[in-house]
Symmetry: C2
Subunit: 422 residues, 2 copies
């Protein structure tokens, strides 16, 4: 693994905005689903997933049977993880609020849940039950009335039981066997079988990502996620075995994933390089992890930790581990990171699966301006204005002056109609 | 004005996603600004704004001189409006928080301001100082360190003094004379004269909107705003003069703006229709308002107020006025609205200019899932995980089981490396 000392080091990649062929394929799929509804979904499901389905909805029986097909330890862990996620996200819930003035005016914000949310869950080999929990539970805690999962079926028309079990644990009952851009179309426009939603969240392949981009505005979407990233900022107190293992835990996701060590310790840098070589050989997903480490991995040697924090803030990583002495004392130097893991027991997979924080986090430098998934993403706010007669009498002329200054006389007139009567 | 009784009535319009020519023009502009920086901005400013500028930044003198060119009443009103906006938005500020467990684990969220934000301010006839306040002040309250305004210059290279005065009141010192897609490019990529930002907000024409869509992901953007909308839900207690004046206040914005009355009173419907005809004739922007009323205006007669609320929730208007008896008692029936104005003195322009709530609101049905601009849009959240040795010892095996279930063995190994030592 290469050790670089440049502080100009950057891992930012460009956004995959698809080829023209992909974009126009997605546009055509969306249009057909909008116009033909379920029949279009049926045709595309047959073409892409190789199964013809009359009814897309997963039955109650299918859901009920899923849990029995899982290892009891996995089931227990999913249940406990779900409870931890609920606990953490329940603390994010905000109340509607208002403020009153002696003059009689009341101003406020009403905070309400979205009504219907669609959750895209990838199928096949990348079927992640943890992702079901991470997306569905914040929506539930926010008070979303209907959560709808879409997920592509296998060729035999079934859904991975781990997905169904996670949905059951999360309390999601509406699950539809459909994937790709056609599923995004169904959620956006609604079909006879699938209700239209207000927001679509969840990861997917390039077609899903492009489809979400296309429908953004008609519905809300979460940010399009890029490959996973981890930056470990470590000093000489860090254990090389832990650093290497945590870097590899992200590298195994994807050949495009990025694992970076930033350290002020030359010794640690060298030991981690050795450990990575040793550990990567032990991995079932060795080829993926090796490609990731080779192309997007790095060990960045810095003069001191402050220089390290500069690198971290420039990278704005999805996951940041602080394997340093007194991490709490240093945490205030982090400007940009999706999630921060402090100390040697806070291995990143603890957050992926279990601690209760959300694992849907901003990638590709978006932590500069974006946040992980939270209850906030499933509420909307309306402002409330109840203006008093006294305030209108006192301020009406000023409001009119501002409207006239902008050339908007009808705005001024609306105030004037009231002032006439006061 | 047409009176319709259909409850299927809808005003939703499609999103203007630009012509292919417009999209490719915007892409070319962005690419050239990315590659050539200020020189490209200079070329496009000369082409579109008909002025050649060496330095884009507005000088301190230009800013200082602006206020003197305004009517003192306007200046006083802007100052008082700014204070009201500050007061309302200061109540939205959230704190970082954490929770601790007896086991030693700490979880939390750090809430931090974005570092740099760009604010697009249209020039020419649509130069709205109120919009400067509404976009800049929430960013300031959030703690954004640098707020950067871009706004297209006149042919003589000057900026509308009302814009500069509003910027000064808001405390914004970095203002650049540039507009269109080239300004969005400069804010996204940075140039020698203009620093790159983390988020771009503010309204603009179709080229600005398309450019924001293109750069979304590299930077954050606010939602692309559509034409203005008002829905007035009124009963027989409402004054027809007020209803008509408020509807016209939105209609004068744009021939595409939409003003709709929903009422259970046939008498009110008829009187408002007459009032609109009478009042529209008095307006300087009569032609615009007439076109808006003709094409996107309606009076929708419903059987009762509950049916009216159904129509309102389907329309999900940007602005909703409740000109009904006991509006506070009924407010809970509103599911979707950007801002809600209660009672006869809460004319919509009160919110546009003065009350302190934000006038940047979701349009075109987006109130189903989106919110007005607030302090929330200028902060980012990082989750924090400090997992204790005790919790890792207790839960490590469960975390490993979840990772293995998803086929992610390196995730499991990262935990296992620690468990070996416990």
């Amino acid at each position: 693994m290469k050790i670089v000392s440049s502080t100009n080091f950057d891992t930012r990649r460009s956004i995959d905005s698809g080829t023209e062929t992909q974009v126009s394929a997605v546009q055509e799929i969306l249009l057909r689903v909008k116009e033909e509804g379920d029949e279009a979904v049926r045709v595309y499901t047959e073409r892409f997933d190789r199964v013809r389905l009359e009814q897309f909805r997963v039955t109650e029986e299918e859901i009920a049977q899923a849990a029995g097909q899982l290892d009891p330890l996995v089931l227990e862990a999913l249940n406990e993880a779900a409870q931890n996620i609920r606990d953490f996200h329940a603390r994010q819930v905000r109340q509607s609020w208002f403020t009153t003035k002696e003059s009689g005016t009341l101003l406020g914000q009403i905070i309400r849940p979205l009504k219907r949310v669609g959750l895209y869950v990838p199928g096949g080999s990348a079927a992640y039950p943890s992702s079901v929990l991470m997306n569905a539970i914040p929506a539930q805690i926010a008070g979303v009335a209907e959560i709808i999962i879409v997920t592509p079926p296998s060729q035999d028309g079934t859904i991975n039981p781990a997905i169904l079990a996670a949905a059951q644990i999360a309390g999601v009952k509406q699950i539809y066997k459909m994937g790709g851009a056609q599923a995004i179309g169904a959620l956006t426009y609604g079909t006879k079988q699938v209700p239209a939603v207000d927001k679509i969240v969840g990861p997917g392949n390039i077609y899903v990502a492009l489809a979400k981009r296309e429908v953004y505005g008609l519905v809300d979407i979460d940010m399009v996620a890029g490959p996973s990233e981890i930056v470990v900022l470590a000093d000489e107190t860090a254990k090389p075995r832990y650093v290497a293992a945590d870097m590899l835990s992200q590298a195994e996701h994807d050949p495009l994933a990025s694992a970076v060590l930033v350290t002020n310790s030359k010794k640690l840098a060298e030991q981690v390089a050795i450990e990575i070589e040793r550990q990567v050989a032990l991995l079932p997903r060795r080829e993926i992890a090796e490609a990731s480490i080779r192309n997007h991995g790095a060990i960045c040697l810095v003069d001191d930790l402050d220089a390290g924090f500069n690198v971290v803030n420039r990278l704005a990583p999805e996951h940041l581990e602080l394997l340093i002495e007194n991490p709490f004392e240093q945490m205030g130097k982090v400007e940009n990171a999706g999630a921060i893991f402090l100390g040697e027991y806070s291995s990143e997979p603890v957050g992926d699966y279990f601690a209760g924080t959300n694992h849907v986090l901003p990638t590709n430098g978006a932590a500069r301006f974006a946040s992980g998934l939270s209850v906030d993403e499933f509420v909307k706010k309306s402002s409330v204005v109840s203006y008093s007669k006294q305030d209108l009498a006192r301020n009406g002329k000023k409001i009119m002056a501002l409207a006239e200054q902008e050339g908007l006389s009808a705005h001024a007139r609306a105030i004037e109609e009231r002032l006439k009567d006061l």
